[in-house]
Structures are given as structure tokens and as C-alpha cells.
Symmetry: C2
Subunit: 332 residues, 2 copies
């Protein structure tokens, strides 16, 4: 069983779309206890309108919170000055051990701030990273960071590699190989950051039992043949992820024309949005935090909840803490 808190007030279509996501989840089959975080009267009313009676559903509870987070302004100061904001109450429920994981599709900067404030960082991890799982040709690929840290150092990228490896391992990918996203696979390629990160990863990763493939290129993200964990700074990762999503959308349009039928093409695109792909896992905080698309539809938000439960059941946090603790002990 996994207990997952879901921020009712986050996201472009909140709270209605989040309530729709609750309906889309088969909590019994998934063995999830869901905690909906928002104004209780509103939450009850939204669910009642969708045929769900919170009072009689043992899988569903409501945790009181006042409001969402503004999309503009400094998210950290907003979170700090609004202790009853749903994003902070949801993250706080994980920090306090009341639930095992939390999910928000609200402002991602606010979610990162709430997770760090409420759960704390994993010792040895300078800053959190956002990871997604892509359905590559040879199997799932973890891409990290896709936007939590737009600027990184070689040390930060190496931490992201370790955290990404823990995530891939927790997801059941056997002996995942780590690759550094670069503009060529030969040694000596790339900018100063990549050159320094390559040296550091070669030095640190094998000592932790992590296979390091070296540099991989943009096309390796879609194939997954050379590495199952692909590491980059949040600027490059965010641009790449959105660029690949755009390219798949473009291809679907072209395919619909080429085949004279748009329906199968649309199904392929929809599959990328509702699978594991939809969930951004925040790595490096002491609590499972899933950040989804602000414009996410109900089935995408439901996919985020399923991923949160899956990470909780596979003890992602424990594995991450142990891996970083080993590194810190060796560094002493």
C-alpha cells in the first residue's frame, strides 16, 4: 500500500481537472490511499459531483489547505509566507510521515521550494533535480535534469547521475548505465562543463558500482541503447524534452497525412502523455515528490499519482539516501 497526497489546487485546470484525475484512478486495484489536499468543502463538492462520497470511501481522505500558489512572483517567498497553501500542506504531509509521496501539477518552482522546505535535501545532494522516464526504443530511459536546476557544475551533474541511477534502479531497470549528454561521443567533446563532468563521473561512478558509458548524444535519448540514465543540466534537459515532445507531435501530424488516418497517430501521442512520461520525479529530496505538467489532463495527473505510488513501494528515498551516504563516507 502507498499513501499519496495530491494537490487539488495546482495546475492550469485546477481544481476541476485534478478532481477528474481522482475519478480516473482505480485506487483499490493500485492499492493507493489518496489524500486530496485543498479546501475541504470544495473538495467534497467536486468529488460528490463526480459520484464519489468521501465519507464512505476508505481509500480517500481530505487534508485541509487554503489556496494554490500564484503563477507569478517568487515561488519560494510565496511558499514561505503561505503555510496553508495546498502545495506546502501536501509536501508537509510527506515531511511529517503522514503520507509516502505527494503530487502537484501546479507551479513547478513552488513545488520544488515546498519539497525542499518540508522534506529537506538528501545529504550530499546540493540541489534537487527533475527526472522523467522516456519510453525509448530499447526500454525506459531516465532523463535528468529537465528543469529544476538551469545551471549546473560538474559536481552537481555527478550528483544528478547518482540520483538518476537510484531512480532507474528503483523502477526496476537492471544495472542501468549512465551517460553524459554531450555533442559527440568521443572523449574531449563538449563544453567546459561536460569535460569536467566526464572526468568526475569516470572517477566517482564506478567506485559506487554504477556503470558509466561516457558521453552520449541527443539521438541516444530516444533509443536508450547506450545508456538508461542520461544526465544533463536543467536548461539543456528542459529544451530537449520539450523539443522531443514537439517533434513527436510534428511526426504524428505528418504520419496522419501519410497514412490518411489520424486516429492511430493520436493514440501514440496520447500514450506518451499518460504513461510514465507524464511524471516528473524530483530527485534529491527526502520525500517522494512528483511534479506534472501544469496543463496536464486528468489521465496525465492520474499517471503522476501512479508513479508516486510506484516510487514509494520501491523505496526510492531509502536507496538514494544509502547511495549518497556511501559516497560521503568514502569522501571522508
Amino acid at each position: 500500500m502507498a499513501r499519496v497526497a495530491l494537490d487539488l489546487m495546482g495546475g492550469d485546470g485546477a481544481p476541476e481537472v485534478v478532481a477528474d484525475a481522482v475519478v480516473a484512478l482505480d485506487l483499490d486495484a493500485l492499492d493507493i490511499d489518496l489524500v486530496l489536499v485543498g479546501p475541504p468543502a470544495l473538495a467534497s463538492q467536486l468529488l460528490f459531483a463526480r459520484g464519489i462520497n468521501v465519507g464512505t470511501n476508505p481509500r480517500l481522505t481530505i487534508l485541509s489547505a487554503t489556496s494554490g500558489v500564484l503563477m507569478n512572483g517568487d515561488p519560494l517567498s510565496h511558499v514561505r509566507t503561505n503555510p496553508n497553501a495546498s502545495v506546502l500542506v501536501a509536501a508537509g504531509a510527506v515531511g511529517a510521515g503522514a503520507v509516502d509521496a505527494w503530487v502537484s501539477v501546479g507551479h513547478s518552482g513552488a513545488s520544488v521550494a515546498a519539497a525542499v522546505l518540508s522534506c529537506g535535501r538528501v545529504p550530499g545532494m546540493s540541489r534537487p533535480a527533475l527526472a522523467v522516464v522516456l519510453p525509448a526504443t530499447s526500454g525506459p530511459v531516465v532523463l535528468v535534469d529537465v528543469g529544476a536546476a538551469p545551471e549546473a557544475t560538474a559536481n552537481v551533474l555527478t550528483q544528478f547521475a547518482m540520483a538518476g541511477w537510484c531512480y532507474a534502479t528503483a523502477l526496476g531497470i537492471p544495472d542501468p548505465a549512465v551517460g553524459l549528454l554531450n555533442i559527440g561521443s568521443e572523449a574531449g567533446k563538449g563544453d567546459a562543463l561536460r569535460l569536467a563532468a566526464d572526468t568526475l563521473m569516470q572517477e566517482r561512478l564506478p567506485a559506487l558500482g554504477v556503470r558509466y558509458t561516457g558521453s552520449v548524444e541527443g539521438h541516444d535519448v530516444a533509443t536508450g541503447a547506450r545508456a538508461q540514465v542520461i544526465v544533463t543540466d536543467g536548461f539543456t534537459g528542459n529544451v530537449l524534452l520539450k523539443g522531443m515532445e514537439g517533434a513527436v507531435g510534428w511526426a504524428a501530424q505528418q504520419m496522419a497525412l501519410a497514412y490518411g488516418n489520424a486516429i492511430p497517430a493520436r493514440a501514440v501521442v496520447a500514450g506518451t502523455a499518460t504513461g510514465d512520461f507524464a511524471a516528473g520525479m524530483l530527485l534529491g529530496v527526502n520525500g517522494i515528490t512528483v511534479i506534472g505538467h501544469g496543463a496536464g489532463r486528468p489521465n496525465e495527473i492520474a499517471a503522476c499519482v501512479r508513479m508516486a505510488a510506484r516510487a514509494a513501494k520501491s523505496d526510492l528515498i531509502g536507496l538514494t539516501q544509502r547511495t549518497f551516504s556511501t559516497l560521503l563516507e568514502r569522501a571522508r
Copy 2:
């Protein structure tokens, strides 16, 4: 008419694949005079085996050069110490005015070095940038830089924006808007480089009559709705381009399964490789330089030759020189 030099010795499949590309070109219909650069006996023999007699073909001549460039080692020093290397002879033919454009699918670092040495940089352009034209949903999009300069400054990105705008204009895109590739479209998003570049572009581009859209995101590259010239550093652009190519390949595989027929999907992928997409245009040098994929097939190399001729006929170099000259005069 356009006179184009083609490096016979560059590329993974050279010289055979380059000779196949010559066969694939209808030089009369394209109004191209082609100069094949390589060892004359080898060039004649390869063409003769493909049914082409150089002696009797008025559209085709051979320019003598000795050898290709090694794939490893420092390309600049290699080019400097091998004046008869085909890449340098081909670039030199443009620098000397013997031809209007040159094409190589060999080592891209060597091609950039040969272009700079033989043709010189456009005054006001600190370093050259590699641009591709992507077949976006709303029309062609120029993406610059895709790998010539892995590290950039705000000033360099602004130069790339101007050079990319000249390329889009030379290609006939009406009043192209320039966008800065970023991780969010709101002001204040991105890393330090993007913040500084946004300020500089706002200040400089409108004064040159160039529309500046502000920040655009990864998915905007495939749609082309917000900007027709999208500017980034060579690291991000290279990763993005290869990632999008990978994503289209992945989508084609999924579509082939979804539709139960791989043929139309393969045709869509092949179209991206043989269209304008295949040709990397080196911007900021005083001579039209097209750099293609090292693994390019004959029809991709032929597409590079067509793009070189198109840029020559539309006076890309003159437009670029005049645009930068205006900026330099204003800066005085």
C-alpha cells in the same frame, strides 16, 4: 546559375557515396555547375563507373586535391598543415571566387576551420554558427547554432540571431521573427546567458528591423508558430537537433506498429533527411559553406548541394555583410 564545389573525400562513405550524390543531381534542371574536389584520376574513375564522362559534361569539372581530413586529431592544425586537403581546396575555391559555394560532409570541425581560413569571417561576427532549416508545422524554421560554437556569450547569441535572420530572409521566409530558445516564455526565465541575451536582443534587433519575439521553448521549434529563427548556443542546439531526429525516428517506429505498415512512416523520416533539413549552413563566413551529416546518404548530400546553390542565388553573403555592416556603423 550557381557554381558549387563538392568535397569528394569528406564523409563516412566517401568517395563512393559522394560520387553517388553527383549522379542523383540533375545539374541542368538545377542550373548548377558542379566542381568535384579530389584526386582527378579517382574522381574520373568513380564517375565513369556511374555512367558520367567528365570530359563531355559541361556542367561538371574536377578540381585537384590530395586527401581528406582525418577524423581524429586537431582539425585546425590538420587543415593548416595540409594545403592540398580536399576540404581546404574546396573552401579555397570559394575564397578565390572560382565558385559561389562549397559543400562537405566530412569532419565538421575541419570544414569550419577551412571556411574561416579560406573565406574569412564577416566583420562583426565573432565566430561562425551552423544553421539548419527544419520543416516545422507552420513552415520552415531556422535553428542556429547546432554545434559550431558549443559555448556562447550574449553578444555571440545576438550575432547568431542576426545571421539566422539573414539566412531565413535569403530563403524567402517573409519578415521572419527571431526567438531565443529558453526554458519558459515569460521574462526572467532561464540561465544567466539567456537573461543577458534577451536584454541584448531586445536592444539591438528591432533597431535593425528584425522582429524579436522574446523567449520560445523547445516545442516551438517543431511548430514554428512563434518564431521562424530560433537562436541558441551550439551545445543546446546540437543536443536538441539530434534529440528531435531521434524522437521522429522513435515516433516512426511506433506509428509503423500502430498502423501495421512501416512504409509511409519510413517515407516521412526519409523526407526529413533529404529535404533542406540535411544541410547545415555555416553562417558568418564570407563564402557559402554547407556542412552535411558525415553519415549522409547520396540524396542527403545532393540536398546539401541544392541548398548551397539556393543560398548563392539569393545572395546570402551579401545580405549578411550588409546587415552586420549596418550594426557596426551604428555602434560607432
